[in-house]
Symmetry: C2
Amino acid sequence: MAFGGDHENDGHMHGEVNRRAKTRRPTMVDVAREAGVALRTVSRVVNDDATVGAELARRVHDAIAALGYRPDERARHLRLGVTGTLGAAVRQLSHVNPVLRAVERAARAADLMVLAASTEDDERLERRVVESMCRRRFDGIVLEPIGADHGYLLPELAAGLSLVAVDRPVLGLDVDCVISDNAAGIRAAYAHLAGYGHRRIAYVGDDERIFTAQERATAFRACAAEAGAALDGMVHTGPIERARIADAVATARGRGATAVITGNATISVEVVRALPDRDTAIVGFDDSELATLLRPDLTVVAQDDQAIGSTAIDLLRARIADHSRPVHRVTVPVELLARGSGEQPPPA
Amino acid sequence: MAFGGDHENDGHMHGEVNRRAKTRRPTMVDVAREAGVALRTVSRVVNDDATVGAELARRVHDAIAALGYRPDERARHLRLGVTGTLGAAVRQLSHVNPVLRAVERAARAADLMVLAASTEDDERLERRVVESMCRRRFDGIVLEPIGADHGYLLPELAAGLSLVAVDRPVLGLDVDCVISDNAAGIRAAYAHLAGYGHRRIAYVGDDERIFTAQERATAFRACAAEAGAALDGMVHTGPIERARIADAVATARGRGATAVITGNATISVEVVRALPDRDTAIVGFDDSELATLLRPDLTVVAQDDQAIGSTAIDLLRARIADHSRPVHRVTVPVELLARGSGEQPPPA
DNA sequence: CCGGGGTGAGATAACGTTATCCCGAAAGGT
DNA sequence: ACCTTTCGGGATAACGTTATCTCACCCCGG
């Protein structure tokens, strides 16, 4: 048995696939000849133009079916000047990315197709991807920008590219963007933990060269300063590595930390992994499916992915419609979801 | 200072974005006029044709820079007949999908751009996405097929579409595909648990209308039959709902199950959630980041995502090169990774 | 019976590239 | 000095659509 299980009854068998050898694909001209009508009439039929008579329309449809004609959008887009396509350049397609999902949804509602590609957190690859989308004349691009130097975007923007940045701004360039209110999220987390009596609160975050990581760490330091709390051994930022995070957690606890705020979902996982017992309170940044797998469930600062995605599409469509409109930078509120891990008081 | 710190120097400020009002984009003709050369010469320069003199090349480059000329791939693709683009139609872009990642990587190595879109597990949306990619004349499509009726693919294939299915075959259609050896994976899991003394082994899987779920459940039944084990209350398939899975786990344990094999990563999470204590052995299908978060770490049947992805691209490229070559259906081996949850014997 | 307006359909010119030819000039050989 | 070869570069025709005209035709009022 080759495949495990026999599936003869599964699908309606469609029979052999007829793979034509090397013959050119039929075009509108061929359809016109076959139907005995003018080229323009075929175009009219394909585009559901009402001004074509029923008899001719039928003949054209028959010819299309007989020849297996498939319209070519490349020519259509070239002629029209518009592609009806948005590009999404995100860090990793194959990672959890609720914002991308919302972007796809919102674009579909606006009858735009989203085609996405990964930038793999590599500046050069981001550039390749974005420039490629530009050359393809996508109507607009949703970008999750990485790195610092986005100078390559300048000529594209000047040439008419419509762009919106999500999650982070494009540093040094004045373009539309949608970001979460990172500072408010950290403040909410800090206040939440403080409200339960915590005085020594630690922060474990991502590499501060990353914009969001920098914003969140800065906000944390500001919270501590405002609360009059010392920062010695309480702030740990750097790359996401298990050993580093385990170390950070150990150090913080050694200095008397009774609660931890994390910088993102991945770090939350590692922090939970590194905590030997359950007596340290945690508030994680970013919601995730894992949050409710832990015990107690993880209290998180959740971003409003839906709002971010649909706002991004709104901004992009507005930019496409009016390329010289003023730049908008939208900050989307976040929400603290109390689930248990952030509501335990410090041990007496 | 290694990381962190001040970022004032990070982004070279690029100043104001010069958003041109409504002027037409410059084309090769404009560049040719500006440089005082023929259209064809500009094309040569853009395509790095060696037959163009240094002086003229410089003049053309200057003109390109002066006008801000950006080549239009739509016209290029139309003229060339190929797009250098592969489409990837997957169930959810924004979910963990290591195969897609491998596909992107392999395609990049072959100098092909991958543009991906979600089908959202919706047959109609899958059709819209695939047909859209066909009309855009993508050179090939990687499809994670859903549903049963893929008849709409027939005319596209006849018209010259190159397609490869991953994870599941296109039922009823004879097209290239790459799938994991699901049956072998289940057999390995079963033998592994049996080897540790388990006699009552349960299976909790996905809806059997899904191809992989059906294959895995079938293989499990075959294993049980071969081992002479009764199946009463041991096989639970259906939609992924927390309540259903909790129920399934409770039933199985009630019937004396000492070990559980799961149908995929999501189900593994729910099974772990539903197990009140740690005395039931588990082997999960699909590896995931969560696997090593649990205690004990989860023993899993891991798919070889890298192999699946690169094989898919290989098949697709071969199909593009020779459209009438014989169809290949590749089965990729899976690997059992023992991490602890599958090595505990039944309670005495 | 004729002219005018509406209407369905065809010829033709774009859209922005690349490929096929062809030509003019420079170089080299006798 | 002239013929041949080479080679850089220019005119022009595709690629497969859609948009702009134009035109033939029909219907109807005057």
